[in-house]
Structure formats: structure tokens, C-alpha cells
Symmetry: C2
Subunit: 697 residues, 2 copies
């Protein structure tokens, strides 16, 4: 397949361009909608301003970090511990990851008032605007991902003329840039959004007794800014990173399995490229009729993702057949990833949607107060880890053994990496359904603040409630793909160490009962717990400062409660910005320092143990925290729909406690853990040579 | 050292007899104290009656389980999949484990009124009675443990004349009996105690607004019964199992490391035996002066345990020198375990005692309500996993490498097992300080119900509050030793499988990146999450039924609130009994079935992965849940001492929510996980041959 080389790069570039073009066209269409009344425009502008200000300051801090890392990596490259491409790859990875989040945030803050306005005309129209905004984000992420890959592929292969093994080895390292950026975005944004949310709710809803999104609440703009910088910008950076990481690690493992034959690199690129086209088709199936029920709305979104998934399943068979010379068994690996992604999403939906028993029972446990709803919510989250782990287990085993891992482990590992690519091939559209949630949430806020008709708020609520489920589904999908990608990266790490002089000896005993591996495993398993604790504490501290400020404003601003004076929204936004930027540093440093320290003390075998432990426990913690949080949120919404005493009842108050606990669970700590486990692998890969050279054990 | 053989058995038997004699004498002394007024006697009698009734019914259910398992193991022995001793060893393990719990419960229920009465005379006297009762339990556990071991050693070595490898292999299996019994006791008792506690608090304290332990509360007796069947009987069975398991696995690994030389079996037995004597000495140092502060009380208890630990450290050096022919490096292994145990206890104390920052900050977070105290409590628990895991890591690495594991892994593994024995050598006295807590708690209840002077309740409260810290310390110690024991058992499992025909081939690839191992790891890591969820849900369901019953009694019994009519205590006890016995079955079945199913599907390599995953994540979950629970409990008590608004304030109400969530965390799910991880290893060992023969992969 000699002729393939150039065409693959071209195909990837073309599909990248198509995705970006589709994003631009969709963005134009979104911008064509009216932003509504002057008041709505004004609110939307404040949210936009706050989000821009936050991101601007975040990027400045991140820039310092990237500058410092660039110097460190440069020195390492100079000392021949790294190839000279690494520092630059690191920068581009971070740049595109950040850009994904930035563009997503831009469109989301442009679409919020438009969605609210469209909801005045009808539910379907509202759904279209919000979903289109989500699509812009989804296709920007995949478009930029493929762009980054094709630029580097072109440079390394055709300009610098490296061999395939060196290409993938260099490209793996831009994952570290993307992961670092993603972690900053997720943690910083996550702390911002939840500090604002918790702060606004605690004083506004609980103490003062005004409704959610009431314009008198000084933290209300900050809350809406938070949805954009956390749930949109953070998520964009996160999934950019998963997407690129899975493709590149599949390329790297393919090169290892097929003695550096380019065809093994070509397959994941082509699957990803084709996935873009299939996802674009899928978006056209997302529409609903007026007065649609919750279930029908969900059906509309599922139709889009399912159609894309089926299309990819159909198209990738001939692709594998053609590219890999009839070795169709790898197709099963891809398919198993695709199916696993869908199943994990469904399991998440079952545990977090109020259409099913777990969340309904959770709502019922509010009858005996806040303590019981907390206990029940924690146990719902914990038990919900079982199905996803079994799904991933079956997927990994099928992908490994069907690809011939029983005889040749390297082929089996390639199979696992292909499963990850398969799972993420629908990312364009799954991310669209996921990112649409915060837009709908914002729209609801604007409807409330602008005093629109009650029916509008009902429609945005319907969209938002659905958004909770799709967000939960999206999180299940993000963590599932993160686990597969992390496993693939772990294999890449082992290959990488093996290729370093003296590295193979360090990996001579990877037995799980080797104490070095085992202790690495213990420490790795502990990292998600520590990380979750740090991020939750950060939210707690930041929220505390918001509470104090909001209380102050209610006390000091005369006429605020009567609507005669305006709250100082900017102050709260600024407070959240400063608090979250301050708080995001420590968790990130922990994530970057841990693999280096573990490596220096325990050596490369200990690092492998650490990666395995962190992946296992991180997967569990992320699913647990995301699902507990999603279930609490929807249990509260379910009660608000009128059961168990409805809004304002004691049961509702208990449910609000659950929801508040769930906030940092599902929007800060849980999703950050996805990134943590991949960043740990990425840092390990980049610093592999240092660890081999300087480790104690 | 030929002559050692007989003398070791005799020494073990003698020390066992000494421990039991000391327990009997101490029990006599406890019984010599007065039970106080007629009302106190009556209350104590009802508690005793309830606890007896519960244990009676529990043992009946357990008997059915043991009967069934005996038949299954008998059939397996008949099919030559097991040696014929296994079914009998299984029974004795279960019997002695159950007996440990039973005797502990007997003395605790006898000592509660006596402690309350002694507190009328002074704090020191109260401490003496409660601590003596704890000592009875502690020395019964170690006495029975050594008794069981010496009987079997005598039978297998001198009657059946087996060789050393066969002896340890057979003895390992009585651990499964002990673990199964312990799991029933911990889960059943844990559900009972927390269902009663949560139920009593939710209606009594929160809804009706009467104080804790108010005699008008229909669930008050059930609550006090619960302290005995859960915290005492459950814990006794649990630690019996750790103690015996660690000694036997050290013997087994010693035999593997020293080519079946008896001296390697002799060492752990002698350390344990000497530990008993040192612990007895330690108990004489536990006394305090009148009007002692919280810190002085804690100091009194620490003095006892520290003295014992130092004594053991001194004595075991010549022991190792003599028994192992001057191979003193193993002494360092023992010492590292001993020190690790103390350090884990101190770390636990730091995170859960209100003398330190974490719990004080937790109490302060009640200022912003229930949600923030929950978030903070969860993060305290999560971050508190870091230190213990680092302590265990250092302990394992030191024990392994100092014992020569670098050159000969089998010696290193023996070193790890010796560390576990070293940690548990002080069990007699650490368990005494641990078991004294529930006695003091009960004494407080009786003081309240019998209407004793306020100063008495203050004294029992001081003892009880200290009990929370020692209980948390004890739990840290229990989980630390469980982790080391589980690692030793994992090594024993690998040896066991290796010794089975065709077994070695199944373990050819234990590499952590072998997907079979890795998937086993994932599933193993998931088990503690599932287990915690199941047990928490059980507590929730059982508590719910108690709430309904207590509400009914308040509504239907005329004059109950005015103290003119008596509550129907027996009904609540009966309800808790039935609920907890019903609920304890599923978690236990999960724990026993999981290793068999994983083994059949993934093979022996998958089982090893599962054990590693379960140990890592189980350790983390157990520490997290125990410490969160302990911190919430003490934060509440700290607020009750008058800070942050004191009793009855909104902050206090928020803290009560935290405490209620913490109840199943620290007394049901957390401690059960210790047993889970050991039971998984034990079941794996017993069913090793079945798995080798019938596994799919």
C-alpha cells in the first residue's frame, strides 16, 4: 500500500477542513438568530464579558506554565533526553486544546440568548439553536484535533523524513501539552462554575429564599459565566485531548505491532476522518416536534448519535478490509469500542435519569431528610461503577483477543487502542449533544433574568433537564474513552521505555506481585482520591468566599431585594476568577509531579504500576462522582416537577443539599479525573528517559 | 534447631492460655463492680437480652451457611480438589471467630451499667471498668487465635505427621472460615447498629426534638444493642481473622522462603506469643487522674499501647537472632510493621480528632450548612488516604528489600508477612482500647436513660468522645494490617496455584499489562465500591423501616412523650434484627462468589489481578470511609462542646447530617471492606484448584 502515505495525510487534512467548515457554517446559522430583547442582549453581553475575562486571565497563567515547561523540555531535548520536536509538539498540543475550549465558549455565550429567544417561538426551534451551538463545539474539537495531527504528520514524515516509529514517538508527546491545558481548563473552570453555583444557591435559594437565576442574586451572572468556562471550555479541552490521545496512541501501537508499516498508522486516522463525515450526517437527524416530552427530546438526540454510530460501523468494515489487507478481526475491535461507548452511555442514563428507578428511589429517600438522600446518592454512584467496568472489561478482552493478542500481545494492544478510536469516532456528535446542555442552562437563566414569559422558562427547563442527562451520558463516554486511551498509553509507555537504552532491563519484572509494581499501583490508586479531595476543597474554599460576598451585597446594597438597585455582578465574577485560578495550580502540579517522583523513587516498573492503579481507581472515582452528582441533580428536578411535596417542601430542601454536594462531584472532581489519568501517562512518556537514567530502584 | 518443634507449639499454647486466663481474671474484676441502681440494671438487662437475641438468630443463619459450605468443601475434598482437613479447618476458623465476637459482646453488655455506675465515683474508675471490659475482648481474641493455631499445629504435625508445606497449606484455609464469620458479623452487626442509630436520631433528635438516648425514644435500646453487636461482636470477629490470617500466611511464606524449614514457621508464632505477654504488661499503664482532659485520657491509652509496642520491639530482636540464626534483617521487617501500625494510627488520629485542624475546619464548614460539611467531610476522608498509603508503601518496600527480596523474592514476601505479624503483635492491647469505646458509649446511654446526675453523663461523654478517636485509630490499624495480610495472602495464593498440577502454566504471565491481569485488576478495584454501596443501601433500607416504626409508636402510644407510657423497645430490636439479618446475605454472597466467577472466566492470572485491585481500592475506600465518618462524628461533638453555636444551632443541625452520613461510612461499610479484601484472598486460595481446572482463559 505504498501510495497510501500521502493520501492519508490529505484525507485527514480534508476531513479536518470539512469539520471546521461545518462548524463555521453552523456558527453562522446560529448567529443568524435574533438575540431577543435589549435586556436579553445586555445579560448575554455580561456573561460573555465575564467568560472572556476569565479565559483571558486563565490563559495568561497557563502561558507562564507552558513557557516554563517549554524551557524544561528544551533543556531536556538539549541533553538528548528528548527529541527536539517534543517542546514544540507540547506547545501545539496545548494551543489547540485551549483553542477548542475557547471557540466552544465563544459560540456558547453567543447562543445562550438566542436559544432563550428561540424558545419563545417553540421548543423545536430552541433545541435547534442550542444543539447547533453544541455542534460548533463538537466539530471544532474534532476538526482541530485532525488538523494538529495532519500538520505534524506532514512535517515529520515529508519535511523531516523521520521513520514511522520516530513519528509516533514524537507525536505522542503533544498529548502532554493537550492534557496539561485540559487539566487547567477543567479544574479551573470546574472550580469557577461550582463556586459560583454553590455560592449563589446557598445564599440566594436557601438563606434569602429567591428563585434560581433571580437577577437580584449578585452571583447569578457568575453562575452563568461558570457554565460556559467550566462545562463548555473545560469539556472542549478535555475531549480534544482524549480524541487526539487515542488516535496517536493507536498509531504508536500500530507501528509497534506491524513492524513500522504505515498501514497500521493509517487505520486509526482514517476511522477518525470517516467518523467526522458520519457525525455530520447524524446532526441532521436531531429535531423534534412541538410539545415533545422529555423522552421524545432525548429520542431526538439519541437518533442523531445512533445514526452516526451505525454509519461508522458500516463504513469501517471495508476500511479495515482494504487498509489492513483483509485482517477483518481488527474491525471487531473497533466495533467493540463503538458499542461499549453506547452501552456506557446507556448505563449512565439509567442511573442518572429520572425516568428510571435509581433516581426515583433517590428522590423518595428525601422523605427522611438530607442525610438519607446523601447516603443513597453516594451508594447509587458507587454501585453504578459496576456496569461500566464490566463493559470496559468485555470490550478490552474482546479487542485484545480478537486482534490476536493471545499469540502476539502487540497486536492485542493495537486492538485495544483501536477500540478507543472506535469509541471516540462519534465524538463530533456526542460532544454536540453534551455541549448543548450548558447553552440550554444559560438560556434558562437569561429567560428568568429577562423576565420572559413562564412558558419560555418551561421550555428551557425541558431542554436543560435533558441536558443533565446528556451531560451525564457524555461524562460516561468521556471516562470510558479515557480508560481505554489510558490503557493504550500505558502500553505505549512500556514500548517507549523499552526503546530507551537501558530501559528494557528496568521493565524486566512487571509482575503484579513485584513489590515495586504493587506499591506503584497503591500510590497510583490513591492519586484520584487525593485529586478529588483537593478539587473539592478548592470548590469549598472558593464557594465560601462567594457566599461571604453575596451576603455582603444583600446587606450593604440598599434596595437590592426590592429590585430598586442593581447587584454588583462583576465583583462576583472577579472573585470566582481569582479564586479558581489560584486553586487550579496545586492539583495540576500534583498531577505532573506524581509520575516523575514515583518514577525517580520506584523506577519505570513502579510507574507502570502507578498508571494501572490510577486508571482503575480513577475510572471508578470518575464514574462514581459523575453519576452520584447527576442522580442528585435529577432527583431534585424530579421533586421540583411536583412529586414528594414539590418545590419548597422539606423534601425539596433535602434534595437541594444533595444537589449541592453533587455539584463539585459531577462538574469539578469527577471529570477532572479523566484528564488526570491521561496526563499521568503522558507525563510518564515524556519523562521516560529521565526516569530510566536517574531512578533509584 | 531441631528441638524447637515441640517447644514452639507448647509456647504458643501457653501464651494462648495466659491470654485467656488474663481475660478471665479481668472479666471477674469487671463483674465485681456494682451495676448501680435497679433502673440501671433493668436497662442493661434489656440491652443484654436484645444483643443475645440478635446473636442467637445471627448464628442460626450463619450455621446454615457454614453447613452448606461444609458440604461443598467436603464434596471438593472428596473430588481431591482439596485436602480432607480443609472442611474441618473451615469450621473451626468460623467457630473461634464467632466465639471471639460472642465473648466480647457478653463482657461489653455486662460492663456498660458498671461503667456508668463507676463514673458516678470518678472518671478514672469509669475508664478502668470500660478499659478492662475492652481488655477482656482483646485478650480473648488473641487467646483464641493462638489456641486455634496451636491445636491445628499439634494435630497436623504430631498426629497426622504432615510436612511443613502441607501444614501451612491446610491451615491457610481456616482463614476462610474466620473471614466468612467475620464478614457476617461485621455486615450484620454494622447494619443493625446503624439502622438503629440513624432511625433513632432521625425521628428522635431531628423530628421530635428529644435528646440522644432519651428513654422515650422507642429505638433507644436497639441503638445500644447495636453498639454491642456491631462495634464489639463484629470487630472481635474481624480482628480475630486478621490476627490468625497474618500469622498463618507468614508461616506459609516462611516455609516457601526457607525450603520448608520449621524455624521460618516458628518465628511468626513466637512473635505473636511474646506479643501477648507484652500487651498484658501494657494494660497496667492505662490509668488517669481525676478531671483529666481529653488529651490526658488519650495519653493514658497511648501510654499502654506504646509501652507494649516498645517492649515487643526490644524483645523480638533476640528472638529473630536466635530463631533465624542471626539473620537480623528480618527484625527490621517486623519493626517496620510495628512502626507502620503506630504511624497509621497517628495519621488517623490527626484526621479525625477535634484536637487537630482537619476536624476543626470541618466543624467550621457547618457555618454554611449541611451541603458544605458533607463536601468537606468527604474530602477530609479522601485526602486522609495519602499518608496511610505512603506508610504502607514504605513499610512494604523496607520489609521486602531488607529481607533480601531483591535477590530472592520469596524471602522478601516473607518479610512483608512478618511486617503484618509485627503490626498485629500488639493486638491484645490495641483491641482493648478500641473495644472500650462502645462500652463507654453504652454507659452514656444508660446514664441518660436512668436519669443519673449530669456530671456522670459528662464523664461518660468524655470517655465516649475519646472512644471515637480510639475507634478510628483502631480502624486505621485494622485496615493497615488487613492490607499487609492481603498482600501476604496474595503471595500465598500464587504459591498455592504454583503447587497445583497445571497451575504454574496459568501464572506464566502475571505482567500487569497482560489484559487478563489488568481486567482482573479493574474488577477487583470495583468490588469495594459495589460492596460499600450494597451495605450502605442496606443500612438505608433498614433505617427506613426503623423510622416508620418509631414514628408509629410516637403517634399511637398515648402518653409516650410525657413519660407516662413506655415505648415498645423490643419491637425496634426485633425489627433491626430481622432487617440486618436479611440484608447481610447479599454482600456476603458477592464477596464469596466474585473470586470464583472471576477465576472461572479470567483464570488464575485474573484472580491475582483481582486481589491486587481489591486490596488497593479496598484499602483506600476503607480509610476514606472510616476517616470521613470519624471526622464528622467528632466535628459534631466539637460543636456540641459549645463552638460554632453549640447544641441546637443550625450549625449543629448541619453537623448532625454529616454525622448521620458518617454512621454507615465508619461503622458498616468502611470496616467491612477490611474483611472483604481478606475474604477474597481466602476464597481464592480455597478454590484455587477448581479455578486451575475449570477456568476458561
Amino acid at each position: 500500500m505504498f501510495f497510501l502515505d500521502k493520501w492519508i495525510v490529505i484525507l485527514t487534512a480534508v476531513c479536518s477542513a470539512l469539520a471546521l467548515l461545518f462548524a463555521v457554517l453552523t456558527a453562522k446559522r446560529v448567529m443568524g438568530f435574533s438575540e431577543g430583547t435589549e435586556r436579553m442582549q445586555k445579560i448575554s453581553a455580561s456573561i460573555r464579558k465575564g467568560a472572556n475575562a476569565y479565559l483571558g486571565r486563565q490563559y495568561r497563567i497557563v502561558l507562564i506554565f507552558f513557557g516554563a515547561m517549554f524551557v524544561i523540555l528544551g533543556v531536556m531535548a538539549f541533553a538528548k533526553l528528548l527529541t527536539p520536536y517534543v517542546p514544540f509538539a507540547f506547545l501545539t498540543g496545548g494551543f489547540f486544546s485551549g483553542l477548542s475550549g475557547f471557540i466552544g465558549m465563544k459560540i456558547a455565550t453567543a447562543a445562550n440568548a438566542r436559544t432563550a429567544n428561540a424558545c419563545q417561538e417553540g421548543l423545536n426551534r430552541g433545541l435547534r439553536v442550542a444543539f447547533s451551538a453544541g455542534s460548533v463545539m463538537g466539530f471544532t474539537v474534532v476538526g482541530l484535533g485532525l488538523l494538529d495531527i495532519s500538520i505534524w504528520l506532514f512535517l515529520l514524515k515529508f519535511v523531516f523524513k523521520l521513520d514511522n516509529a520516530d513519528i509516533t514517538s514524537a507525536m505522542l508527546t503533544f498529548g502532554m501539552g493537550a492534557s496539561s491545558m485540559a487539566l487547567f481548563a477543567r479544574v479551573g473552570g470546574g472550580i469557577f462554575t461550582k463556586a459560583a453555583d454553590v455560592g449563589a444557591d446557598l445564599v440566594g435559594k436557601v438563606e434569602v429564599g429567591i428563585p434560581e437565576d433571580d437577577p437580584r442574586n449578585p452571583a447569578v451572572i457568575a453562575d452563568n459565566v461558570g457554565d460556559n468556562v467550566g462545562d463548555v471550555a473545560g469539556m472542549g479541552a478535555d475531549l480534544y485531548e482524549s480524541y487526539v490521545g487515542s488516535i496517536i496512541s493507536a498509531c504508536a501501537l500500530g507501528v509497534a505491532a506491524f513492524s513500522a508499516d504505515f498501514k497500521a498508522m493509517a487505520l486509526p486516522l482514517m476511522i477518525a476522518a470517516i467518523g467526522v463525515i458520519c457525525s455530520i450526517f447524524g446532526t441532521f437527524f436531531v429535531r423534534t416536534k412541538e410539545g415533545a416530552t422529555q423522552k421524545q427530546l432525548l429520542g431526538a438526540l439519541s437518533r442523531g448519535t445512533n445514526f452516526s454510530a451505525i454509519l461508522i460501523a458500516l463504513v469501517s468494515f471495508p476500511l479495515v478490509w482494504f487498509v489492513l489487507d483483509k485482517e477483518w478481526t481488527f474491525y471487531i475491535a473497533i466495533l467493540s469500542g463503538l458499542i461499549a461507548g453506547v452501552l456506557i452511555g446507556q448505563s449512565t442514563e439509567y442511573f442518572t435519569s429520572d425516568s428510571y428507578k435509581p433516581t426515583r428511589k433517590l428522590a423518595a429517600s428525601s422523605e427522611t431528610g438530607a442525610a438519607t438522600i446523601i447516603i443513597s446518592g453516594l451508594s447509587v454512584g458507587m454501585i453504578s461503577t459496576l456496569l461500566p467496568i464490566l463493559i470496559v472489561a468485555v470490550c478490552v478482552l474482546v479487542a485484545y483477543f480478537i486482534s490476536g493478542g493471545g499469540n502476539d500481545p502487540s497486536r492485542g494492544l493495537y486492538g485495544i487502542a483501536l477500540a478507543a478510536v472506535g469509541m471516540l469516532s462519534t465524538l463530533g456528535i456526542t460532544l454536540a449533544t453534551d455541549a448543548y446542555g450548558p447553552v440550554a442552562d444559560n438560556a434558562g437563566g437569561i429567560a428568568e433574568m429577562a423576565g420572559l414569559d413562564k412558558s419560555v422558562r418551561e421550555r428551557t427547563d425541558a431542554l436543560d433537564s435533558l441536558g443533565n442527562t446528556t451531560a451525564a451520558t457524555g461524562k460516561g463516554f468521556a471516562i470510558g474513552s479515557a480508560a481505554l486511551t489510558a490503557l493504550a498509553l500505558m502500553a505505549s509507555y512500556i514500548n517507549k521505555v523499552g526503546s530507551i537504552e537501558g530501559g528494557a532491563a528496568k521493565l524486566a519484572n512487571l509482575n503484579i506481585n513485584n513489590p515495586t509494581v504493587l506499591i506503584g499501583l497503591f500510590i497510583g490508586a490513591c492519586l484520584p482520591f487525593v485529586f478529588a479531595a483537593l478539587t473539592m476543597q478548592s470548590v469549598g474554599r472558593a464557594a465560601q468566599s462567594v457566599v461571604v460576598e453575596v451576603r455582603r451585597q444583600f446587606k450593604e446594597i440598599v434596595g437590592l431585594m426590592d429590585g430598586k438597585a442593581d447587584a454588583d455582578y462583576a465583583k462576583c465574577v472577579d472573585l470566582c476568577t481569582r479564586a479558581s485560578l489560584r486553586e487550579m495550580v496545586l492539583p495540576t502540579i500534583v498531577a505532573i509531579a506524581a509520575p516523575i517522583i514515583v518514577g525517580i523513587v520506584l523506577g519505570s516498573a513502579g510507574v507502570v504500576g502507578m498508571l494501572a492503579g490510577a486508571t482503575a481507581s480513577g475510572f471508578l472515582m470518575a464514574v462514581f462522582m459523575s453519576n452520584s452528582g447527576g442522580a442528585w441533580d435529577n432527583a431534585k428536578k424530579y421533586i421540583e416537577s411536583g412529586v414528594h411535596g414539590g418545590k419548597g417542601s422539606d423534601n425539596h430542601k433535602a434534595a437541594v443539599v444533595g444537589d449541592t454536594v453533587g455539584d463539585p462531584f459531577k462538574d469539578t472532581s469527577g471529570p477532572s479525573i479523566n484528564i488526570l489519568i491521561k496526563l499521568l501517562s503522558m507525563v510518564s512518556i515524556v519523562f521516560a528517559a529521565v526516569v530510566v537514567k536517574f531512578s533509584i530502584l
